[in-house]
Symmetry: C2
Subunit: 198 residues, 2 copies
DNA sequence: TTACTTTTTCGACTGTCGGTCGAATTTCTG
DNA sequence: CAGAAATTCGACCGACAGTCGAAAAAGTAA
């Protein structure tokens, strides 16, 4: 009939899982390791999570929540449109902790986690960026139809850029060019993106 | 000092693995199932493949080989440029057998396989399409720099379209529009793509 | 306090799976 | 035919996700 103590334990487990998933990757973190770290029996773990994958899902929610909040705040603020775009794109960037150790390096593993984070990130970010772009259209900076689809495409490309070693200048140049053209912006309008990537 | 009989067994195993990976997905196909199907002892299996993942790699090679050959032939032929592009894009389309049962449906599993196939497919296809686009530039159909990067980006988007349920008309319209603009083609030049997707 | 119900915890156990290994068997070679 | 090399075998291992019944802890009502 309670649940408050239980919630705290769940959160604690979530934080441990979060850290370990980021440090060693999802696949190579075993439940046994998590419960050892938490000093907990296996049954207890499965009292709070139905499966390992459910834990990953919850961890991802946790990761995205803060980031989404920050991006949302930026979008709602009275910033100029280009700066809002920067804010949203920055949210797409892999978190420092991640890139530090595992995710970036051994990305042939961790595909599952990486993919899931990516999908969710786009889901969260797309409506925000759509709003910004529509604001830009109202201001005459952009000119296009099918905003929603264009935005999703841009975010998708953005993810690719951040993902693997696709970091050379040419790729970025093509990306910026594509963004400008697909949104119907004047050439050079989006040049500032180049700066914030490297 | 031989290897001919051995090669045949390897190929047989590869074909079994290929079929089972496609029918049930990579993750949910166990080595035990494969060797049962092949009526082979486990040691024999590992005499031919160092690991399950190596088998997947080999299977993917097998899958891509034929497709790449066909695309290559089309590119080398004296077709008009647009038709060559069709040929390459068709090669990106998920194979019928795949979409039939597992890969498309339960794509939350099979991520590993799906991802690997995707990467390899782009690796194989990119140089071909680059060649075609350069031919198009020579003919004045396209006009752009950084062809290699643009092509990779297009293939990437193409994959996304075929991937998940991103199949509505608007997405395709945006895709076609982006391709035209990124290659510097006249509006409408690439409209034929719309037809060949649905 | 006591008697009870509910929530939480425990850890031994199971089944599956990828991979190993040494020995047996077959095939090649001189 | 003898010895070497290639091939096959299957018992075995360790790791791991997940289960289960029972015990302990916490809550409730008298």
């Amino acid at each position: 009939m309670k649940g408050e103590k239980g919630e705290r334990r769940r959160t604690a487990l979530l934080k441990i899982a979060y850290r370990m998933f980021i440090e060693q990757g999802y696949d190579s973190t075993s439940i046994d390791e998590i419960i050892a770290e938490a000093d907990i029996a296996k049954g207890t773990y499965y009292y709070y999570f139905p499966s390992k994958e459910a834990t990953l899902e919850a961890v991802i929610d946790m990761m995205l929540a803060e980031e989404a909040e920050r991006a949302q705040a930026a979008v709602a603020s009275p910033m100029p449109v280009p700066q809002k775009i920067v804010a949203v794109i920055l949210a797409m960037r892999p978190r420092q902790e991640e890139s530090g150790i595992s995710t970036t390096l051994e990305r042939s593993e961790n595909i599952v986690m990486h993919e899931k984070v990516g999908r969710r990130l786009i889901e969260v970010t797309a409506p925000l960026l759509t709003e910004v772009v529509q604001e830009g259209i109202a201001q005459g900076i952009f000119e296009c139809t099918n905003v929603e689809e264009r935005v999703r495409m841009i975010l998708f490309l953005c993810q690719r850029i951040f993902d693997s070693g696709h970091f050379n200048e040419r790729d970025i140049e093509v990306f910026v060019d594509t963004v400008e053209k697909t949104l119907g912006a004047q050439t050079g309008t989006m040049d500032f993106i180049k700066g914030l990537i490297q």
